[in-house]
């Protein structure tokens, strides 16, 4: 930790002005607010709630590469001719994780989000600092994620301010949040502003959706999709893009998004009259709750080997850490949302400090000069067709 006391105050003081806004008119912990198949690692006091323990678990697994060496992501990158590691590309995406509060607790969540995570909530001051940092970059896209980002009282402020700046704004939406009465106006509100909604739906059918996101998640998701359709989303209008995001409900890789998209479109239209614009497919990262599930189901080693065997050099240039700045709820800056969850703060080359940076002292020059930090979880982004917040990369 390299923060001074004043910065600590700004980062960690929960402001009183948000307390009233935290009344959602429904107990987020209740089943009505959203399905909750598991309890967060943090709430259970699980050792895997600690990022260090997650990194230790992955780092000490007996995994070897094709040459019989202990699997090392940096080595894999060096083997394909990138001896200096992953280098940053021009920034395109400013991703803001506004907090870990969520009305759901999906089994695979890499954030360990849930209704109990009220401590991790971006304040207005930090949101304003995000915008000031954004103004120092040429990012065209502002990608707002969580938790359920809509639960943050500053969500609409961030959307409005980003739209004012001419940015393409993405709301990473869990769908079920749209059924909470307080957010009933959101589909229209987002549509009026041209926000792209990227919605999590593991499968176009019920079984795998409920397996990953809890009983009832599928039905609620379809209702929410219909609401978005009514607001004009998913009809091919470039100002009302509805993207569905699938990740596997199990220890296997995501399939070809192009191939699946045709089938999904036909099936959702046929079965529910629901429409969407595009499908993106992401691999599950072996961190947080998915890591725990892999461990408990006896799939950890085979899944990691699947990622390792699936290493595809063609995915490397498009990995999202190269063109994204990821900001955490407390204003700290990371290479990506996964490194964020693993507390892997950025490493600025030539810096005497540990390299930690926050949006309060954001420097695009220093950020561009950083060395992207990697560990074994990074194999999740380079396996198969590749995986990023924008879907496949190869």
């Amino acid at each position: 930790m390299t923060f001074n006391k004043d910065a600590d105050e700004r980062l960690f003081h929960a402001p009183d002005d948000t307390q009233a806004a935290l009344d959602y008119g429904v107990d987020l912990d209740s089943p009505e607010a959203g399905p909750k198949p598991v309890i967060s690692l943090r709430r259970r006091g699980s050792s895997l709630a600690s990022a260090a323990e997650q990194l230790r678990t992955l780092g000490t697994l007996d995994l070897v590469d094709a040459q019989g060496r202990p699997a090392n992501f940096e080595q894999h990158i060096a083997d394909i001719g990138m001896a200096r590691g992953l280098r940053p590309a021009p920034l395109e995406i400013f991703q803001i994780n506004v907090g870990k509060l969520c009305n759901m607790t999906c089994k695979h969540c890499h954030v360990d989000a849930g209704p109990d995570r009220v401590e991790a909530m971006m304040t207005r001051a930090t949101a304003e600092a995000c915008l000031a940092a954004l103004d120092q970059t040429d990012c065209r896209t502002v990608d707002i994620t969580g938790g359920a980002p809509e639960l943050n009282p500053n969500f609409r402020f961030l959307v409005e301010e980003s739209i004012k700046r001419g940015k393409h704004v993405i709301d990473r939406c869990n769908l079920t949040i749209l059924l909470v009465p307080k957010f009933a106006d959101l589909p229209e509100w987002l549509a009026e502003r041209g926000v792209e909604v990227v919605c999590s739906l593991p499968h176009y059918r019920q079984r795998n959706t409920d397996a990953q996101r809890g009983d009832g998640a599928y039905e609620k998701s379809i209702q929410a999709l219909r609401r978005l359709n009514e607001a004009g989303y998913g009809q091919g209008d470039p100002n009302k893009i509805l993207t569905l995001m699938t990740n596997p409900a199990g220890a296997f890789l995501a399939g070809s998004q192009a191939s699946m998209e045709r089938e999904w479109k036909a099936a959702l239209e046929r079965d529910h009259g629901a429409r969407f614009d595009r499908l993106i497919a992401l691999n599950n990262m072996p961190i947080s709750r998915f890591l725990e599930w892999l461990q408990n189901s006896g799939n950890l080693v085979s899944y990691m080997n699947r990622l390792l065997d699936g290493f595809n050099p063609a995915t490397v240039p498009g990995v999202m850490c190269r063109n994204t700045v990821s900001v955490g709820w407390d204003g700290r800056v990371y290479d990506c949302d996964f490194n964020q969850m693993l507390d892997m703060e950025i490493a600025v080359e030539g810096s005497s400090s540990e390299g930690a940076m926050t949006v309060f002292e954001f420097s695009p020059e220093k950020f561009a000069a950083r060395r992207i930090r990697t560990a074994r979880h990074c194999y999740g982004c380079t396996a198969g067709a590749g995986s990023s917040c924008g879907g496949a990369t190869a």
Binding site: R207, P248, F252, R262, E263
Partner: protein, 110 residues
């Protein structure tokens, strides 16, 4: 059975080409092409493969296509339905031979 079937055979399948490289490579190249998206989707082909795997009762193929079909986006229900197609054809193939039995009975009976 365990003396004959070993799970590592599947991971090392490509090494069968050690015995005859040209034929091995030709087979694997053909195999790869078969499963690409075409007039049928890769997912449809994977479900066919899963059903055939059960019909020919190949544990390697069942292992491989149980995973592959999931990766291609099929769920357990769809995979089970594919399997029932194989079951129906296998059962039907037995039963339709009953027509031969029937013919023999009718020829030789009174």
């Amino acid at each position: 059975m365990s003396d004959y079937y070993k799970s590592e055979h599947l991971a090392n399948f490509a090494k069968i080409a050690d015995g005859q490289k040209e034929l091995g490579q030709a087979f694997f190249s053909y195999y790869g092409k078969v499963f690409e998206d075409g007039a049928l989707t890769a997912r449809e082909k994977s479900l066919i493969a899963l059903a055939v795997a059960h019909a020919v009762q190949c544990p390697y193929c069942i292992d491989a296509y149980s995973k592959d079909a999931q990766e291609k986006g099929a769920d357990f229900e769809q995979m089970t339905e594919a399997l029932h197609v194989a079951v129906a054809i296998r059962g039907g193939a037995s039963l339709v031979h009953g027509m031969q039995m029937k013919m023999h009975v009718e020829e030789s009976g009174m």
